[in-house]
Amino acid sequence: MTEHSNQLSNFHGGLKLSGHKTMSITSPISQAKIPAKVIIPLHQHIGDSGELLVKTGDKVLKGQPLTQPTSYVSAPVHASTSGTITEITEHKIPHPSGLSAACVVIETDGKDEWIELTPVKNYQQLDATDLRNIIRHAGIVGLGGAAFPTAVKLNPGPTHTIETVIFNGAECEPYITCDDMLMRERADEIISGIQISLHVLNSDNGIIAIESNKPEAIGALKQAIKKNNTTNIKVISIPALYPTGGEKQLIKVITGKEVPSNGLPADIGAVVQNVGTMAAIHQAIHFGKPLISRIVTITGKGVKKPQNLDTLIGTPMSELISQCGGYKENADHLVMGGPMMGFTLTTDQLPIIKGCNCLLVESSDDQQTQRRVMPCIRCGECARVCPATLLPQQLYWYASSKNFDKVQDYHLFDCIECGCCAYVCPSQIPLVQYYRFAKTEIWNLERDRQKSDHARIRHDFRQTRLEKEKQEREERLRKKKEMLAKKKQENPETADKDPKQAAIEAALARVKEKKEQAGINPKNVENLTEAQQKLIEEADSRRQQSKVE
C-alpha cells in the first residue's frame, strides 16, 4: 500500500510534455444524452468480427448482443440503448482511412430499457475459463485505446507464470483525462475489477501505476483500498514522462525488466491492463452488464466546454461536441485520441467506438507555424528520445526508400508510434507517418505472399487433377478399343459398323417398336377441314393394312 517510487527504473528517452489536462477536469463526469440514433460498428477491436444476430426491423433492448464471437480473438458488440434497428449498412467509422464498414443503426426509443441481466453471485467460485468467457461475451476490450479483447489478454497461457500485474492509470498523453476522472469518481469499481482480474490470472498482488501529476486519482484509489481493507493491491506514483503509459515502458519503470523485441509482456511474467477496462469487468461480473458505454474526453482549444462524458457506444461525435457547447470560432480539425498518437478525422458524423478515449478539437493556434519539412541533418535527437531504443533516422531512410527488409532489420515493428521522434525533429519530418506507411506496406506484402502461396497450391492441384482426368480418359479409350477388338473377333459382321451408328439405329428401332405397341396418339386433330380429315383416314387405313401384312 505504500509508494515505492524510490525503487522505480527509467525507460530510455521520453519527453516532458505540457499536459493541457486541466481544461477538461473542471467538472465531474456527465452523462451524454441518448442520441436519436446510435450507429454501432460490428468490428471495433483487433481480431475477428463476430456473427450477426439481428436483422433490420428488430426491436432491441439495451445490452442485447448484436453479434456473437466466432473465434477466440473476437469480441461481440451490444445494443447500447433500447430501440429499433432501422438499418444494417456500411457507415463511415472512425479510422485513419476514412473508410466505411458494416454498422447496425438503432433508432432509439428513449426508454433505455435493459435486457434481463444475470450478475455473477460469487465469482470466486467460478474458474478462470468461465470468468474469461463472461468477460468475452460482455464484449470487453482494452479501453486504453488499443481495443484488444480483454479475455485473451487475461489468458497468458499455461507456459507463462505471471508475477507482476500492472493496472495502467498513467494516462501520459496530453489532453486526455478520462482515466483520471474515472479513478477519482469510480475508484471502488476499479478495485473490484482488479480483484476479479487477479483471480482470473491466479495472481496474488496487483500494482496500480499512476503518473505523479494526478494526486486526486492516487488519493481516491488509496482511500478505496483502505475502505475495503485491501492488502494485495498497491498504488504506485510514477514520474510523469511521456510515454510512460506505453505497455513496455510501464513494465520497465515498475519491474526494471525489458520486454524482448517481438515479445509479449507475459514472456517476462508481466500483464498490463487499463484501469477503465477494470471498471468494465466489474460491471460485467457484478451486474451482468456488457460494455455498452465508455468515458470520452472531449477537449482542446477549439471546443467551448471541454469535459468528460459517459457516452453510449455508437453516439455520433457531433452530438458530443454540441453537448460540450459546440465548436469555437478557431476550431480547426478533429483528432481521435491524443495529440501524439491520435489521428485526424475528416468529419464528426462518426460513431464513438470502444477504443475512443478522446476527441480533441485542435484550434488554428495549435498549428505550429506551417510545417516546413527539411532534409534530415543527422542530429540524432530522434534516437535520444525514442522510448523503444530504436534509430528513427535509419527507419526513416529505409521506409522512405521502400527498403522493407532493412527497415525490419532496424526493428520497425518495435516502434510504438509514440511520436517522440517527430516531436523533437528539428527538420520537422513527419517520421511516424513513414513508419505507419512501411508497416501497412509490409503487412500487405505478407498478405500478397500468402495469397500467392494459396494460388500456387490451387494451381498445382488443378494440374494434377487435369493430368489424372487425362489418364483416366486414355484408360477408358484403351479399354473400349480392346473390347471392340474382342467383339470383332467374335462377330465380325456387326462389329464392322461404327459403334455410334449402331447405337443410333438400335435406338430408332426401339422407338418404332414402342410406337407400334402403344398405338398412335394423334396430335392436332381438332377443328380439321374435311379434306384434312380424309387424308388422315387414308393414312390410318394404310397403317392398318401394313400391320395386317
Binding site: 507517418q433 513513414y434 494460388a455
Partner: protein, 187 residues
C-alpha cells in the same frame, strides 16, 4: 637459411590445408537449393501467362535456365523484379512493356449472372479453379480464390465476365507515403 625453412614450412602447411579443403569440398558437398523453387516463390502465382510461358513455374524454370529475362511478369511488377534481381544477384531493370503493364489496383473477375449461359468455357480457362458452375447452370467466381489473371474473359461467348477493382477494406488499406518523400535520401 632460416628464411628458407620458414618458406618451406609455410608452403607445406599451405599444401596440407589445400588437400584438406579439397577433400572436404568433395566429401561435404551439399546439393544447392533448387533455384527454380526460390524463383517460383517470388512470382505472384497469377498464372496468367503474360510472360509467354504456360504459368509461373514454367517461367521460373526459364529464368533459371537463362532463357527468360526477370522483367517479364506484369502482375508482379517492380516488387517482383527487385526481389528476383536480389535473389539472382543481377541488375534490376524496368518491366518490359511488351508483356503488359503493372495494374495499379488489383482486380477480380465477376460474372454477370443474368447473362451467363452456363457453357463452362470459363471454368476450363481458370488456372486456379476459382469459378463455380456446371453445364447449363449459372456460373460464379469465388472472389477469394481469383488471382485476377483475366484468362476467363476471352473464352466467354456472351462476354459476361468483367474485371472489377478489388474493394479496399480496413484490412487492405495502406497509409500513404508522406508527400515530402523527396527530402529523404535515396539508398
Amino acid at each position: 637459411m632460416s628464411i628458407l625453412i620458414a618458406v618451406i614450412t609455410l608452403a607445406l602447411i599451405a599444401g596440407i590445408f589445400g588437400i584438406i579443403l579439397g577433400y572436404a569440398s568433395i566429401k561435404f558437398h551439399v546439393e544447392g537449393d533448387p533455384v527454380v523453387d526460390k524463383i517460383d516463390a517470388l512470382l505472384p502465382q497469377t498464372q496468367c501467362g503474360q510472360c509467354t510461358y504456360a504459368g509461373c513455374r514454367p517461367y521460373a524454370e526459364a529464368i533459371a535456365n537463362g532463357e527468360a529475362e526477370i522483367n517479364q511478369c506484369p502482375p508482379g511488377g517492380e516488387t517482383t523484379i527487385l526481389a528476383l534481381a536480389d535473389l539472382l544477384g543481377v541488375e534490376a531493370k524496368p518491366l518490359n512493356d511488351e508483356h503488359g503493364e503493372e495494374k495499379a489496383i488489383a482486380t477480380v473477375a465477376i460474372i454477370d449472372e443474368q447473362v451467363c449461359i452456363g457453357c463452362t468455357l470459363c471454368i476450363q480457362a481458370c488456372p486456379v479453379d476459382a469459378i463455380l458452375g456446371a453445364a447449363k447452370q449459372m456460373h460464379t467466381v469465388i472472389e477469394d480464390e481469383c488471382t485476377g489473371c483475366e484468362l476467363c474473359v476471352p473464352p466467354c461467348p456472351v462476354d459476361c465476365i468483367d474485371m472489377v477493382p478489388l474493394k479496399e477494406t480496413l484490412e487492405t488499406w495502406k497509409w500513404p507515403l508522406p508527400d515530402d518523400a523527396h527530402t529523404a535520401p535515396r539508398t
